[in-house]
Symmetry: C2
Subunit: 151 residues, 2 copies
């Protein structure tokens, strides 16, 4: 066998998708050429960043979801963006934000299991100047990427 699925999932995760003009046209009762024009405009203006697949993350070994509230070491405190960008490079990281309040950074992490999660946190504390991490582990993912998770 070829086991194409993993490669497919990898590509569909961040692109390799496109809007369905025909279906949009039927729904909005507009000619496809009009929608074509409007879609291209949105792309040109940078309003649409990309088209991608949304997964049932449990089924692609990313079922363990954690929010990390991060404090930086004094030496890194002035540059939360730099640290954020480094963290963002990790493919298990769904989102990174520099935030107000008691913590500097919030990370949404998707791992296979608690072991992978623990490996990430250990490595993160070592590599980026992190002084403290509070982990909020998801017990139930109700909505993700604007999509309601059924079951």
């Amino acid at each position: 066998m070829k086991d194409i699925a993993p490669k497919l999932i990898g590509l569909l995760k961040g692109g390799y998708c496109t809007p369905q003009l025909g279906r949009l046209g039927r729904t909005l009762r507009e000619p496809v050429t009009t929608l074509q024009y409007n879609v291209k405009k949105l792309e040109r203006e940078g309003v649409v960043h990309s088209y991608k697949a949304v997964f049932d993350y449990k089924k692609i070994n990313e079922g363990h979801c954690t929010y990390l509230l991060i404090n930086l070491e004094p030496s890194k405190y002035g540059e939360p963006e730099e640290v954020s960008q480094k963290i963002a490079k990790n493919p298990s990281v769904e989102s990174v934000d520099v935030i107000t309040g008691d913590y500097e950074i919030i990370v949404k992490l998707r791992c296979k299991d608690i072991d992978e999660y623990y490996a990430f946190v250990k490595q993160a504390i070592k590599q980026y100047g992190i002084s403290k991490v509070i982990s909020l582990t998801s017990l139930k993912q109700v909505k993700t990427e604007f999509v309601n998770c059924d079951n």
Copy 2:
């Protein structure tokens, strides 16, 4: 004019997209029929939930991003999922998780501005049995939906 963009954005936010088999085929050097088969299988198995657009949220009036850490009133404490599902219905809500730790629910919210955010929080506290909300406001969105935000 018709001002189709808002309708288009609404539909592309949660679907109306499809994988590009041809492009995938060229990249993976596989016949489209093989990929077709594999994609359909992933869909059938529920691995892929949907295909959607990712936006530059500032450009669609959802630039104000906040994480809400929520505590429930004693009367609702036993049913965080029910409350979560109600919160999830709001289209400004990107994600909802029931979590471990000092809070019961974490919500990722995307609003136009702080006024819209405040309106959401006021309404949420009234409607769902919420006793306390801590808001972590995003100062800089570095990565979103697995996509690195440039600039």
